[in-house]
Symmetry: C2
């Protein structure tokens, strides 16, 4: 690496939504900003989570001076346990974020990590970097953006943000600090692109208050609100509205219960004693005195809301007269399961309000006018859009052009690419990562394209394994061929088909040959026979034993 240059390497979050992770490297010092996870796409079959490829950092683990976490969402903290497995460095975050990180580390049985609490307004030295933290409003409290003074110039990192002029917790994105940083001359702005498709301004979280009041005031029975467990402001508004309408509140769903507990303990959620009831107490109160706040707004299979829709006896039953509010927008890929959940709730007689019908959700990310406002407050020399799928990055870069940033000073980067910058110039110089690291069960990174390809084939037409045992001296078949199949045909009805396969196998084997010859002929026969007879392509595996 050239001297006097700052390297910036996003290990996640550029060209994708999730696993936001940014490496800053100068001389022999590395600062990591966020370490997130990504939820798998529908075609990443069997994958539990996707994390960044941390190899670049692992190979330079001793250089890592610190890890800053901008806020407590999974796409910013969820990769920490995997990063900390090989990197020993202090973590810096605000109070609530720290509380959420502590839970995560405890669950992952990781001890001995140095956790430091910072507050907006603080300044901090980490290696060659001087960092100023400023508050940003977002869909979780206690988010920060960063002003990073580096040897090559000042860098501003937006974190995940919106300009909510009237946030529920009263804490606005710090315009003054942004203007101050802008006045100092900013070399590079890194800014959140998640909502770059959205025209105008993102509404204030506060506007939901009126919508909630309208729904609560007309609800004859219970009101059940599903939202993200981390959206403390939303939970605050729902409990406030519930109290206003004389209702007690039950919190349902593991992550919701845990987050509400932490947020209350730390003072981020203001719920007076006597408001909360346990799920068991719900049935003891008249329906019009009850509100439930639960998980499941994304149709997650084991979540509270989905179970309610499926009449799961382990959770509360939805009955006619209940009002359900799904206070979230579908994350792309979840639409089918969400729609199914909505339909199930309607089938049980609930009155359901959701995104398509009523504005029961606002985003935590800045829309186009806000993104332009940030660019104009900062007036950076260089601009790199972060946090977004590729089209979001492109659209964000167009906004920057509209604000007068020259296209030659805007860089469209993707995860794993290496950006170098100093006072003389900037550019993408290299690429260090292959991409996705899949976590599946205990395995981290062992499941790759070939295993996924097999799963894809198996998901379509199952498998067909044929086992033949041959006499090692005569080559003749001992006993009957055995067929093992799953996901290919309905065995109870396919006896005839499987019988014919056995007969044909006997003929294939009878022509003799080496073990590998026979195996190859069997493979070809099985694939052809399956296709001709069923029009399907199961995974076929012949097993030839010689005894």
């Amino acid at each position: 690496m050239a001297k006097d240059r700052l390297r910036i390497i996003p290990l996640g979050g550029l060209g994708e939504i999730g696993r936001n992770t940014l490496v800053l490297e100068y001389d022999e010092s590395i600062l990591v900003i966020d370490a997130g996870l990504m939820f798998p796409a529908n075609d990443m079959l069997g994958v539990d989570i996707v994390i960044p490829d941390f190899s670049y950092v692992f190979e330079r683990a001793e250089r890592v001076k610190g890890i800053i976490v901008t806020h407590g969402h999974e796409d910013h903290v969820g990769g920490l346990p995997y990063l900390l497995a090989k990197v020993k460095a202090p973590i810096y975050s605000t109070r609530l974020t720290r509380g959420l990180i502590e839970v995560k580390l405890r669950e992952s049985k990781i001890n001995g990590v140095e956790l430091n609490t910072i507050a907006p307004g603080d300044e901090l030295s980490i290696g060659p970097f001087e960092i100023e933290f400023f508050h940003v409003s977002h869909s979780i409290p206690d988010g920060v953006g960063l002003g990073i003074h580096t040897p090559v110039g000042l860098i501003v990192h937006s974190g995940d943000f919106k300009f909510d002029h009237n946030p529920v917790d009263g804490l606005r994105t710090d315009f003054a600090k942004l203007a101050e940083l802008g006045g100092k001359g900013v070399l590079l702005l890194l800014s959140d692109s998640t909502n770059a498709e959205q025209a105008g301004y993102t509404p204030s979280e506060q506007v939901l208050g009126e919508t909630l009041a309208r729904v609560f005031s007309g609800a004859p029975g219970r009101v059940i609100v599903a939202t993200f467990a981390s959206n403390i402001s939303r939970i605050q508004q729902v409990t406030d509205t519930a109290r206003r309408y004389g209702r007690r509140v039950a919190i349902v769903g593991r992550s919701m219960v845990s987050n509400v507990r932490i947020a209350r303990e730390m003072g981020y959620l203001n719920v007076p004693e006597g408001t909360l009831i346990s799920a068991d107490q719900v049935e003891q109160l008249p329906d019009n005195q009850v509100t439930l706040i639960c998980t499941g707004s994304q149709g997650e299979p084991t979540s509270a809301l989905v179970r309610m829709g499926q009449r799961d006896p382990r959770t509360i039953s939805v009955v006619p007269g209940d009002t359900v509010i799904v206070s979230a927008t579908p994350i792309p890929g979840n639409e089918e399961v969400i729609n199914r959940t909505l339909d199930n709730l309607f089938r049980l007689g609930a009155n359901v309000f959701y995104d398509e019908l009523l504005d029961v959700h606002v985003s935590g990310h800045a829309s186009q006018e806000e993104l332009k406002l940030l660019i104009n407050l900062i007036r950076p020399k260089y601009f790199v859009p972060i946090h977004g799928e590729y089209r979001h990055l492109v659209l964000h870069s167009k906004l920057a052009q509209q604000c007068g940033i020259d296209p030659s000073r805007i860089f469209l980067m993707e995860t794993g690419e290496v950006f170098e910058v100093n006072a003389d110039g900037a550019g993408v110089v290299d690429s260090v990562s292959e991409g996705h690291v899949f976590v599946d069960g205990h395995g981290v990174g062992d499941v790759g394209p070939s295993v996924l390809d097999d799963r894809r084939l198996l998901s379509r037409n199952g498998f067909l394994v044929a086992v033949v045992t041959l006499d090692k001296y005569t080559g003749s078949l001992i006993g009957e061929p055995q067929i093992v199949t799953r996901g290919f045909v309905y065995e109870a009805e396919a006896e005839n088909l499987l019988g014919r396969i056995k007969q044909e196998i006997t003929k294939v084997v009878a022509s003799g040959g080496s073990r590998s010859d026979i195996t190859e002929r069997l493979r070809a026969f099985l694939a052809r026979f399956a296709m001709e007879e069923t029009g399907r392509r199961p995974v076929v595996v012949p097993v030839v034993n010689k005894v």
Copy 2:
């Protein structure tokens, strides 16, 4: 069945989007309206298409007097080949619909079907039913709704419709006929619920003309428009706009080419000679004189647009300067693949316009105000919302209530339920169908829940088959156990794991027992070992041979 009652049985399309099929039965006569297919949900693994369970009709095949097809979309005609396999009855449809049915029957190698052409305004007797056809505007030309005079009263079936006051083909939904039918006194209205979530009015298809003109006028290179192959009005507007801006038009994608040919031959698409060029000629013209109209607006894996995004050498390459318009909204479940396609096109440097950014699509279905207008024109005694997922049916029934239809005269039905009606009353009396019939390869209905369950398990963690051969006299192991696995672990890296499985299997087998004892112990061992070592749950199958 009670005498003097009309039975109505939806075999598809209620509580789901697709496979619209309605059975009308009176005395010994059956009339079938539409016979559609449904595209599988993402969790119907390996399924090609979903068709209605036609058993009720098959068991009464000789009673079927006719099949009416309201328009040529797959969710109304795609089930015909499967229905005609066991039912011999004349088909009635408009000219274009008939043309599309002919193609379908030819592809399915079905001959000898009596096809009859009807036109809006025609009246027709089929058994005890007198049918009046009226034009409806929709996203394919030549759609009709039905006024059906039955012995118990007049029924109106909306078909798929919208009230486009200014349609591209000039043919409006027939208000006069609807008012006339309403004036006669309608016993029952069956109306399309697809867009019951949408407030207001669906815009006219015509408004797209201005948007297209704006995009075309500013496009420096080629303009590539992806839309549904059946949306002839859209194709008409794109070719008109292309001509206005001095561009020739290439049609790309098998179904698009076929539909354009039929629509031109039959006079539904007006494209002057010299406008169309072949895909091969595209490269010979300057980019700003070329427009492509192609398939792929839903991210279909083998479609033209998706291939263009993947630099597939078999199709045209997208280059910087190209403008792409995706003129469709995502069908729920397709969002991920569509977003991936958009990102790929942006990566190739195209300027991409899509739903989120610009109104480049209008729906073919009536929104809430139009649905209410239809209800008020018809003023039916009874109302059954059809064509929609369950929440659409519920929302449509609420609109009917707003229009003053008493809730006791509105029936929320789902596919397979039996509705009986006469002048004295109406109600859901029975259910005749289990639900989905899956077509997978050549198989129709053989793939059911158990095969799908296996595919689901296989899709997550693959399979692990262990084969052991035992001496049938001593019970001792002959040779080594053999392991066959796919989709479970990456074999090249899992040698150690698989080696240990073999060792453990040897121990399990050594404890002896009957073949079924050993099989059961092996199954338990394999599942436990896989879980403990990898945290995964492959499908495990032990095979014990005795020789």
